[in-house]
């Protein structure tokens, strides 16, 4: 159901006035009790945040009450917190890494951000502000202030709750790395002190790095936002109440359950489009916030969002939340685009995107896929980025291929096509799979990759290829079932890479360690080639032995397959003869080479490794086959194009004469 933007706040405002009677909805025990009964996660944290946005100063002043349930199984006295906004300082680890390893001394002041905690107190222990200490667990950068820890006067017993109350001020940067402002648009992510995760028997609270994202516990969020009345707001979770204040501001209360982050956005220039989709878990209200000039992409955003919802519901599992907010950042704000938060994500578009360029759809599908792999399956994005980015990239390709055609799911023009899976493969090749050797396995810690390019192309692209290639071993349907099982088994928890790989083995019933050791934990390069393929006419003496038919011509055909790389992978080899017969061999790929020999009354036409090019981890598709007769059509086509371009450029430059 669609509604215009003006009716929603009016209706909600009327509800608020009718139902409030002075009561804070967050104290509604009926709602709270109901929420607890329906809890989807082990709600370790409960955040209550009151925040006020100062549009002119680009600051947020806020108070936060964090109730931490000590489910670690042991007393805890020290608690680390993420202060991500401090990453946007000249000497921070984030800035240093993004700037090639040196601090950015002359950073534009508008791009600086910070979070300052003015006061922190613990219920029953008093003011602990003086006990705040900045730490840097990942490097020796003492200037980095993205991790703060508090050591309490006394420990919190296992099973008990501890309540932190803080006041803090955010200074927002001009939009960088998915947070900040541009003109009248705000995207507020990673903006409040967030406690670390007790994981694998220790606190896991990494500094903010240029190449990493986030990791936090599941819980509940009750967030009250005060901002000017003309702001149109989208946020994680659902809007509970909206109240206009006499001073020209309004107060919006949002509630989100079973999520591990809370982000929000505001702009008076948004156009709000409401829609809905019904899935196996019920109706999902879709809130699309479109920036000025981008309305031509609105329907594309909605269609691809619903396509993603439908296919994930069918293939992976239900989307359990009531709301999904899609945010379209304005022009110039693309640094805020393409980012996921629980039940909210940002898309990417321009004022004009031809229908054959599926950029808006691609971003939506990718960020929606993150609602499952990151949002509900809460993996550690610092340490195992491949688990969310890689699986998401794989699912993005699957959904895009299903919705828009395999081979045409990015570019769909009569003169040129490009599919998702191929695009990820080429990205990986261009990043250095070709020109550099084996630098980083999938399992590298996020901030320790060789380069930003290696991080991006290995975690996104290579993981996609690893899972696509896995389909040739256990079947596409089995991979899908494995992901479905993985999601159902580990949603609302923090699984590891081993949990994922074991799930695949459980579902497939096969031991796949030989594959995972090379593809996931290793840096082996996969490349098989046809080293030699030819037919020789058999001499008469030999012919007599093979075929006694008078006048029969017998050819002895040799096909040699060579393993160029160090990745051992079983391959199919299809050999085709001039009498249209063919043979399919299956090689385990263990040795360095294998030679096939045939004596037949037909010559070799072609030999092809991996017909259909399903083994997308293979570095080079061009050496996977050999056709005896040269086919010049491709080179003639490229000759036409290249010669044309060279001629035209020459004439353009000759205009100067």
């Amino acid at each position: 159901m669609r509604r215009f933007k003006f009716t929603a706040p009016i209706m909600l405002g009327m509800m608020a006035l009718a139902g409030s009677a002075g009561a804070d909805p967050r104290d509604d025990t009926t709602v709270a009790a109901q929420s607890m009964r329906q809890a989807l996660s082990r709600r370790v944290v409960a955040y209550q945040i009151d925040a006020k946005l100062d549009v002119a100063k680009k600051t947020i002043t806020a108070s936060e009450t964090l109730t931490y349930h000590n489910l670690t199984g042991q007393p805890q006295q020290t608690f680390p917190f993420h202060l991500y906004l401090n990453g946007f300082q000249p000497h921070s680890t984030f800035t240093t890494e993004a700037n090639g390893g040196v601090p950015e001394e002359d950073a534009d002041p508008a791009r600086l951000g910070s979070i300052i905690i003015e006061r922190i107190a613990v219920a029953g222990m008093g003011d602990v502000t003086d006990r705040m200490q900045f730490t840097h667990p990942d490097d020796d950068n003492a200037a980095d202030r993205t991790v703060m820890q508090i050591t309490l006067p006394r420990p919190v017993p296992a099973g008990a709750d501890v309540q932190f109350t803080m006041t803090f001020t955010d200074k927002l940067p001009r939009v960088v790395a998915r947070t900040g402002y541009i003109r009248d648009f705000f995207i507020i992510g990673q903006w409040f002190p967030k406690v670390g995760v007790w994981w694998k028997g220790a606190w896991n609270c990494h500094q903010f790095h240029a190449n990493t994202e986030f990791f936090a516990d599941f819980g509940t969020y009750d967030v009250k936002l005060m901002l000017p009345q003309d702001e149109i707001v989208g946020a994680t979770g659902g809007l509970v109440t909206a109240t206009n204040n006499p001073d020209g501001t309004k107060t919006l209360v949002f509630r989100a359950d079973d999520v591990h982050d809370f982000a929000w956005t505001a702009s008076p220039s948004f156009r709000l489009i409401e829609d809905s989709w019904r899935g196996s878990a019920g109706t999902v209200n879709i809130h699309l916030l479109v920036s000025p000039g981008n309305m031509s992409s609105a329907q594309r955003f909605l269609d691809s969002t619903k396509g993603g919802l439908r296919l994930f519901d069918e293939w992976i599992g239900p989307y359990p939340y009531d709301n999904l907010t899609v945010v379209d950042p304005p022009h110039g704000g693309l640094a805020a685009g393409g980012m996921e938060y629980p039940t909210l994500f940002t898309a990417d578009t321009f004022w004009y995107v031809p229908k054959g360029l599926l950029l808006p759809e691609l971003t939506v599908v990718h960020e929606f896929a993150h609602q499952y792999f990151y949002g509900m399956v809460g993996t550690n994005e610092f340490e195992e980025a491949w688990l969310d980015e890689g699986i998401t990239s794989y699912m993005e390709a699957k959904v895009m291929n299903e919705l828009y055609g395999k081979g045409t799911s990015i570019f769909k023009f009569p003169f040129m096509t490009l599919g998702e899976t191929d695009d990820h493969r080429v990205g990986l090749l261009s990043a250095g799979y070709w020109h550099w050797t084996d630098t980083d396995p999938l399992t590298r810690l996020g901030w320790r990759f060789y380069s930003e390019s290696s991080y991006a192309d290995v975690t996104y692209g290579k993981t996609n290829q690893v899972l696509t290639t896995l389909e040739t071993i256990i079947g596409e349907e089995t991979v899908r079932r494995a992901l479905h099982t993985y999601f159902l088994r580990y949603r609302f928890t923090h699984p590891t890479g081993e949990d994922f790989l074991k799930t695949i083995e459980d579902v497939s019933g096969r031991d796949l360690r030989w594959y995972f050791n090379q593809a996931v934990y290793g840096t082996n390069l996969l490349d098989y080639e046809i080293l030699d393929a030819h037919s020789d006419l058999l001499p008469v003496a030999d012919k007599a032995k093979k075929d006694s038919r008078e006048g029969a011509t017998i050819y002895r055909t040799f096909v040699t397959v060579h393993r160029k790389g160090d990745f051992i992978f079983p391959e199919d080899v299809k050999i085709t003869f001039s009498d249209k017969s063919s043979v399919m061999e299956h090689w385990d790929g263990q040795d360095r080479w294998i030679r096939y020999q045939y004596d037949r009354p037909a010559e070799l036409v072609s030999a092809e490794i991996d017909p259909g090019s399903q083994v997308t981890l293979d570095l080079n598709f061009y050496n996977n086959s050999y056709a005896v007769n040269e086919d010049h059509r491709a080179i003639h086509k490229l000759t036409n194009i290249w010669t044309f371009i060279a001629e035209w450029v020459g004439q353009l430059l000759a205009w100067l004469t």
Partner: protein, 313 residues
Amino acid sequence: MAQLKPRVFLAGARLVWRQQRALWIIYAANLLLAIAGTRGSLWRMGKILNHSVAADRLVHGFDLAAYSELRLHPSMPFEASRQETMFCVFLFVIFMLFATGGLLRTYYEDRPMHAGTFFEACGENFWRLCRLAIYFVIALVPIGILASVAGVEFGRIDRRSISSYSSFYFLAVAIVLLAAMALSARLWFDMAELLAVSEGQENMWRALKSAAKLLRGNFFRLFWVYLRISLVGWIGFWLGLHFWMEHVRPEATAQSLLVSQALIVFWLATRLWQRASGALWLRQYEPQLNVAATSAPEPPIPAEAARLEPASS
């Protein structure tokens, strides 16, 4: 003021057609140099593609991933390929500098030239045209500065404006104005080249001044001719490109070759059409210049000079 003959626009096209040998000579040089510049890359690509079944992805349709993978292949050094092509492009530019002298003489005199006469005109005017080309590049510098300023302003508007259209409209207007300025500069220098060739002018500054004087009263007429030809060129080219991409089957290599080369000839012809129109116009305008020069009354002989003048026998 010159009385511009009607239909010099079409007369220029007819002149290109009449003297089409010049068009084909230049086209042949363009084609041969392009082939030379791409030969190395294409030979290397052929070694990869000619025996590979995977090349099929480039034949039926055009799979960008397949092409990207080809370009990333270790035996396809991109930088070397680019340098080979750009070197031959540069050679074509030098060729055009050389050939323009003969070309303009042919159009100005509107008669078929023997090869000897043609190349004599080329050689005679080569250094003059080189100098003018350098001056032209210098003349483009202020336009380049304006383009840079426009770029900065575009960025400023884009950052400040809520709507994404504001900066787009600004950019569209800026591009139109800058293109008009560049076309005007080209027109001026084209006329200077014509004067250098037709009058044998050695001093290029004088040629530029004379061209500026010529254009003073006739700028809009000539600019309109140039603009219309440019529009025909750009629109026709993009229509042809659209036809090639949308309506020629990807596997139809021969058809693609015909269409692509027809586009190149068309593009070249429109440029020559501009040169021919300019030459025609100058030929029609010059008699009026000469008439103006000859009909001016002779200045009186000073009495002193008349007294001292020896009596003629």
